[in-house]
Symmetry: C2
């Protein structure tokens, strides 16, 4: 397969490098077009006001790719429109993100945004994120092995043009294995942020986000529950934000200006 690999942690991020190595090991041809700098939690932004600078970058002894000084979605648009010289990838992979993207974070995630952008443009796409836990040493290479195995499972199940899936790899102690793979829905419970108020030397308020990310209580069939229970999670995604039942209800009423 010809795979376009991108991410939101930047072209030199260890998660991307590990995923690149493993995809190539599995026999795929991989082209990397990724942000020049870290773009975490930039969501689904696009650059239209300024120019998008590009440069060829050699990353470790792993690959030479194209760095774009833009956002994840810019990378996908620009790769497909220009940088791949008209050759369409068979699959777009985004990640592996340093940090999980479950629950409402699916909406914040630049990693997921890149996959959704590819889906918009009619390509099959998979986002990959790795759960980091402070008491477990992160092993990107090992996580990438599970990621590529799970990509194979998704492709075997059939991922059509325009279809998108997102996966999360659990945090594992060296002696632990994932509990398995679960296909789960996005948890939509709110994530309540906390902030600490401080004052600058001139007396103006400023705030630090002091939220601690924990996989909490939720319904059993969600990404949050499955990842907490050490499963690899797979969630197929769509990008129609319409609340269709409410459309139907409101249409029955007589709205007049």
């Amino acid at each position: 397969m010809f795979i376009l690999l991108t991410n939101d942690d930047g072209i030199r991020a260890p998660g991307l490098v590990a995923l690149y190595r493993e995809l190539v090991k599995a026999g795929h041809e991989v082209e990397v077009v990724a942000p020049e700098t870290v773009q975490s939690a930039t969501g689904h932004g696009v650059t239209t006001a300024g120019p998008l600078l590009t440069s060829r970058v050699k990353v470790e002894d792993a690959f030479e790719g194209i760095a774009v000084d833009g956002r994840p979605a810019d990378c996908v648009k620009l790769a497909i429109n220009q940088l791949l010289n008209g050759r369409l990838p068979d699959l777009v992979v985004s990640g592996m993100n340093s940090g999980t993207n479950v629950g409402i974070n699916v909406i914040y995630s630049g990693t997921v945004a890149a996959a959704i952008e590819a889906g918009f443009l009619g390509l099959p796409a998979i986002a990959v994120s790795l759960y980091l836990k402070s008491d477990i040493e992160t092993d990107y290479a090992r996580a990438a092995i599970y990621a590529v195995k799970t990509i194979d499972l998704i492709l075997n199940a059939g991922l059509k043009p325009g279809q998108i899936a997102t996966m999360n790899i659990p945090a594992l102690h060296p002696h632990e294995e994932p509990a398995g793979v679960r296909i789960v829905r996005q948890c939509t419970r709110p994530w309540i942020d906390t902030y600490e108020r401080r004052q600058d030397p001139k007396g103006h308020d400023y705030f630090w986000n002091t939220s601690i990310f924990r996989l909490g209580q939720t319904e059993e069939d969600t990404d949050v529950a499955a990842l907490r229970d050490r499963y690899i999670t797979v969630t197929p995604l769509q990008y129609d934000l319409t609340d269709h039942p409410l459309v139907e209800r409101w249409r029955k009423e007589n709205w007049r200006l």
Copy 2:
């Protein structure tokens, strides 16, 4: 009603000021917490790595509000968590954005992201965007009148805690009226971007996005079609990105690592 007003064009943007004036005229109490700088197309980003600076800002003779050097979603989180001193708004309004947010742009939009964030947090929320056309002079004050009338229609239909709606106001010549109000779904047809390749003085490629936004051909029941036909569009939104039919299908298969 006690309304929290935010946007993604920045606290001094003419669309926000016009909407503020019209909401106050309608008898509402309005508190403004909005980005210090323009945040267009930043999508649903959040700031967790750095501090969020705030300042009290007087905008024209219209209002004194709080500027946050963050993204639209940061403004909503911080307002509800800290800046409103524990007083919950009855409604969150985001906008009025300079430029339409229909079709796939609903996903890119910082204006919509602020409303979705409020919905997450259990509040009713409405995003407002104004279609700009190069051959029509923009009249924010007039557009704000239609926006507040439409907000009333939505509230009369019933917008429960956590429910979100987005609206678009058409571009109108002075002698024109909107064709009416239509409740429509989000168009999910792809928006194909075009880029122009240039070279910097050192021979590196860079790219300008040369896409021209046009409301094109689409199905009749979508936001794109209704706005093109000069209707005010209203689309209720949800934030579960799960492709539920595909979850069901994949669950029937036997996925083993």
